[in-house]
Symmetry: C2
């Protein structure tokens, strides 16, 4: 069923499959072609643009992005501006703090501790009572730190991830991110397990199967001499294909991991901060207690702030014998931004909004599944959806080309989404938490039109 | 001469040696002790505070930090706020951009390209004409990316660093940072060479010796099968002990590195953006052409922005076969901040100011060396100084205890500096580029008093 790198023009999978194709530019304006050529020259070949017709963005407000001609784009994808673009409360918090103080964590600052306490208390169980927080700038840095801590604490190197996991862009986390493709070398001691593919596996067995897979891979790691350090997974399996249900999958895995002396790391960079509607953290839907939680993207609604919350004993030796200092991590402005975001999510009941508007969208997507034979599966929780496009409902063969066409068809209708999964055939829809019923209607109408057109 | 981990109470070396000691708190107020206990609980044991009496900072402006009682501290250390704290031009640039747009690099944005072009053009030679820029959030991420690119491009793994190098906090760069101490495991294919210690080595021979060292270590790497990928050094050897002269050291090293097929990476995270007074980039003082330049700390005057500038051919294959996406790296606000910083450095002639005020400080420090027998060596360029304290001028034995006392004596006089080097006996003085002659006088007077008191 897997057809890696076969049909994606740019040679990328997952979220990149909607990317601009430099061999398909005849539809672009001279201005756009100039910009793209200049960009290629100044940023080099590693930078990619979204969409067959890249979008030039000049300003953004709430759920809308605007190009230089004033055209309005409905943003149903950018998880970073999770409270909406230029959210006034966050903008003002940053603006105020900027004029007062922006410095690092080696001086005493009460706001840093106040936010750390507030953040830690959002977790259930022991972690929420006794956990400690460490701040970084990016989710990649948070996952990288989690790996360093896990390996240092256990004295082992083996890491288990899901088959199409993406945990970031640093050397260490890229080496545990199979979704980066075959040319990106994996760490010798990383092993993969199948994602909990609720569309293809017997749902009642997924948790048990995954735990068995993990057990097998732990044994394999031990057999190769690395020793097992940790299991890490995105709590919504975002890059595997967005498997948000069933929610009895991670607890049996965590049990197996603990029994083997490993740590369970919940990567909440995409699934955290209320995205899933019912819980602030995706792993809480699975009733699992992680040893380390990592977070990032929406944490500062655009300001670079990220972090980990973990059991303090995991860093007692790490902290005593090594220095870990992140120059910008948790600086005064980052903390002001992060606090404004968390305050807003709680006080404006954005999780509840995500749940409510999310239900409306899910219902609409389910209707579209009935309408279109090639919509094989619809998955979602809160404001996070995966819509799987297939060539054949019985055989469930991924239809990457159609997904690419739908994503770009929506872009032409000025609605922004993306696609994910190993075969990039799963529409990834992730609107801001402030989406209204009207926005949801506009999104669903656009998707309907785009599906009808392919 | 090396006494690693022997006399530093917290078990840290280098910049951490001035750290707060939890076993020495009888002089602190109940409020401070409460804060510290709370901090320990919420941030865990890996976080460190500056100074025997930690400073609580409430606001900052220009070259001054202020505590909650309104006490003024002269900042002669924080390189991040290189234009001075809350610099109005940078603050306004960020404030304005925040209200307009803060999004990522997968949409077309002219300001991103304008800044990339401006930045690239600050480099000499081929790099300035044809180089490309990639944006990250932190200097650690920039060095991590440089390593990934160097290893991918060369297909080799071996890296050569200086003996007390620090290149960041991610797993990959911590593994090439010997200054993190013996418990931080180094990569099997990293090798070290002695820093260009102008105080202990015959100055005329340093470049030749270093090139010979590098040659030997390349051979050793090859002998172990890893293959030689790159040499990386901070262009001011900041954590080795701040060896800013002589400046004929890196060119012969680069020649040896190139002959062996390796890349030369200039880490400008500390030495860049005009810090050294005569050149925007530290490596330019050495008349060397790096293959990759990494930068960070002062790039956004506090906003988390960092990056690399490199030869585009180094990423042509990396860029074609892998995705590298840094969610916040080079976002609209980061670029607005970075542009305001670079504009300010150039338009307000801050490099020239660093050179002028730097000369005044260097002269003053040289006078203090005459006055105090234990001031073994004074080094500096621009607004970047190392003052080496020794137990004996002839034997040049590092005096860590006295350096610790001077740093803390200055803190008690409300002047902020730190210490560096393997034995943490070198005062590290790094005032904002906007320092005036009056600030310089105040700094020198404070240092004189602190030296007299130990």
């Amino acid at each position: 069923m897997r057809q890696h790198n076969k049909t994606v023009p740019t040679g990328f999978r997952g979220d990149m499959a909607n990317g601009f194709n430099p061999n398909d530019t005849s539809h672009l304006t001279a201005d756009d072609l100039d910009h793209i050529a200049r960009r290629q020259r100044l940023l080099g070949p590693a930078y990619r643009l979204f969409y067959r017709s890249p979008v030039e963005i000049s300003r953004a407000k709430g759920v809308f992005l605007y190009d230089k001609h004033g055209n309005e784009y409905l943003d149903a994808y950018n998880n970073v501006a999770s409270l909406g673009h230029s959210h006034p409360r966050v903008v003002h918090a940053i603006q105020d703090q900027l004029g007062t103080l922006c410095t690092h964590t080696r001086y005493m600052q009460n706001q840093l501790l106040d936010y750390a306490e507030m953040l830690i208390r959002t977790f259930g169980g022991e972690l929420g009572r006794t956990g400690c927080a460490m701040f970084t700038c990016t989710g990649s840095e948070a996952n990288d730190l989690a790996l360093r801590v896990a390996r240092f604490f256990t004295g082992k190197t083996g890491i288990i991830v899901t088959a199409e996991a993406y945990h970031g862009n640093s050397g260490a986390v890229a080496a545990i991110s199979p979704s980066l493709g075959k040319k990106s070398t994996l760490d010798p001691y990383v092993r993969t397990v199948a994602a909990p593919d609720s569309y293809r596996l017997p749902v009642a067995e997924i948790g048990r199967r995954m735990a068995e897979d993990v057990t097998r891979q732990i044994a394999d790691i031990e057999r190769h001499g690395g020793g097992f350090a940790a299991f890490i997974a995105d709590s919504a399996f975002s890059s595997d294909g967005l498997y948000v249900d069933p929610v009895d999958v991670l607890a049996p895995v965590a049990e197996v991991v603990r029994r083997a002396g490993g740590l369970f790391i919940a990567d909440e960079v995409q699934s955290g901060f209320g995205r899933t509607g019912t819980h602030l953290w995706g792993h809480a839907r699975h009733s699992v207690q992680p040893d380390i939680v990592t977070m990032g993207k929406p944490m500062g609604n655009g300001y670079p702030v990220a972090g980990v919350v973990l059991r303090p004993e995991l860093v007692s030796e790490f902290g005593a014998s090594m220095r870990y200092f992140n120059t910008f991590g948790g600086n005064s402005v980052a903390i002001a931004a992060a606090k404004a975001v968390l305050d807003t999510i709680i006080e404006e009941h954005l999780m509840q909004n995500a749940s409510k508007i999310g239900s409306q969208i899910l219902e609409g997507l389910n209707d579209l599944q009935k309408k279109y034979e090639f919509v094989g599966d619809v998955r979602g929780t809160g404001l996070y959806f995966g819509v799987e496009l297939v060539k054949d409902r019985d055989l469930k063969i991924p239809d990457m080309d159609r997904a690419l066409a739908v994503v770009n068809g929506l872009r032409d209708r000025r609605i922004l989404i993306s696609a994910t999964g190993a075969d990039a055939h799963i529409l990834k829809i992730r609107p801001p938490l402030v989406f209204t019923s009207e926005h949801a209607g506009r999104l669903l109408e656009g998707i309907d039109q785009a599906l009808a057109a392919v």
